[in-house]
């Protein structure tokens, strides 16, 4: 197979774009696509200071690498979830990445803060690990970003993640989630603007870029992601994609363009935000829908409420 641009041997076939590309032309294609997404949806501007949520996986490491290459000011934050073995290995990948590419990466250790890892926290809170992990990650990323003067939080969510989520919400007629799924979530008081610059790139394209760039990432999955429904939705979409290349991209682009219809459906039934007016957590002062935010409720269970309020910034270190 030959590269569509230069005619040399291709290294990657992009059936969704009906092309095959060599290494160098794929880099150009990939970086152009990220830049175009950022500009089209006004995700980041040149004066922004971007915090990139990194996990040691391909998406987040590729994201911070590309943003830096495109000239954006960015630093990473890695959250060590205290998952035995997996967390040590993923942190090591982030550390090596930071050393090799000269990018600043900060870390927050769940075990250091709560005295135990995500499994024990979820057991004690009687919630599943993914839900607790989401609460902790969202809170820590946002708070670090706000207090360390970042203007944007960027995550490595890709086309497969986004289309699978939209697909799952449609299957369940979950109009609230359908309306909430965005490439850009604007900032509010004490809430950082959140963006997903990889929303129009597939996991396959991101993995290809990461491998060709020689970025070493963690291949293994989080042990708690086994059996996740999102994987079933991804598999279903990839089956369709195999037979009809470009389906995921058409579906997700169509979803973004037509998202307004879901808002009308919610308004016709009941206003979801009516009873959920945001207020500030009485302990930490960050936005919540209750007296205490979910993070502070966990902190209370582990006798760390004062630490959240008084010296949270002391729990962040440079990797």
């Amino acid at each position: 197979m030959k590269c569509k641009i230069c005619g040399s041997n291709a290294q990657i076939e992009l059936r969704n774009h009906n092309i095959a590309l060599c290494r160098d032309d794929f880099f150009v294609f990939f970086e152009k696509r990220v830049k175009k997404t950022i500009e089209k949806y006004k995700l980041i501007n040149s004066s922004d200071k971007v915090l990139v949520a990194i996990s040691g996986g391909k998406d987040s490491l590729a994201l911070i690498y590309v943003l830096n290459k495109l000239g954006y000011i960015c630093e990473g934050l890695y959250i060590n979830l205290g998952i035995s073995g997996y967390s040590e290995r993923s942190e090591e990948k982030c550390k090596k990445f930071s050393e090799i590419f000269g990018l600043n990466v900060y870390t927050f250790s769940v075990t250091n803060f709560f005295g135990t890892g995500i499994f024990e926290i979820s057991r004690k809170m009687k919630r599943n690990s993914c839900s607790v992990c989401g609460i902790i990650k969202r809170y820590v990323m946002n708070r670090f970003g706000v207090e360390w003067n970042f203007s944007v939080l960027a995550t490595g969510h890709n086309l497969d993640d986004e289309s699978a989520q939209a697909f799952g919400s449609i299957l369940n007629f979950d109009f609230t989630r359908l309306q909430k799924e965005k490439i850009l979530l604007p900032s509010k008081d004490k809430v950082l603007k959140k963006v997903k610059p990889f929303s129009l790139l597939t996991e396959r394209e991101i993995a290809g870029y990461t491998i060709m760039k020689g970025i070493d990432y963690i291949y293994e999955e989080c042990p708690y992601s086994k059996g996740a429904t999102s994987l079933t939705y991804k598999s279903a979409l990839n089956l369709v994609e195999e037979k009809s290349p470009g389906t995921k991209l058409r579906f997700f682009k169509g979803f973004i363009e037509n998202q307004g219809i879901f808002k009308n459906l919610i308004d016709e039934n009941k206003n979801i935000d009516k009873d959920n007016e945001s207020k500030y957590c009485v302990n930490c002062g960050y936005l919540t829908y209750r007296e205490n935010c979910n993070f502070c409720l966990i902190a209370e269970r582990f006798s760390r409420k004062d630490e959240v309020r008084l010296d949270f910034s002391n729990y962040f270190y440079k990797l």
Binding site: M1, R23, D161, G208, I211, Y219, E221, S230, S235
Partner: protein, 63 residues
């Protein structure tokens, strides 16, 4: 040929294209990438010789 996939090794005694290997192993090309011994990605039409080693990696993650 030796094909490493998901921590296991599969052996084939004749040359085949990547596309044929994926078909035999029942792999969706949207979910996997093939890498040659020298670390380069290889496309579906590339013939893998009988004495070659390749690696196939899964690119879709959970969460």
């Amino acid at each position: 040929m030796q094909v490493e996939i998901d921590g296991r090794i599969e052996y084939f005694d004749k040359a085949m294209t990547v596309k044929e290997i994926f078909k035999i192993l029942n792999l969706n090309p949207e979910v996997y990438l093939a890498i040659s011994e020298n670390g380069e990605l290889i496309t579906s039409d590339r013939i893998v010789k009988a004495d070659e080693k390749i690696k196939i990696i899964r690119v879709v993650s959970g969460g």
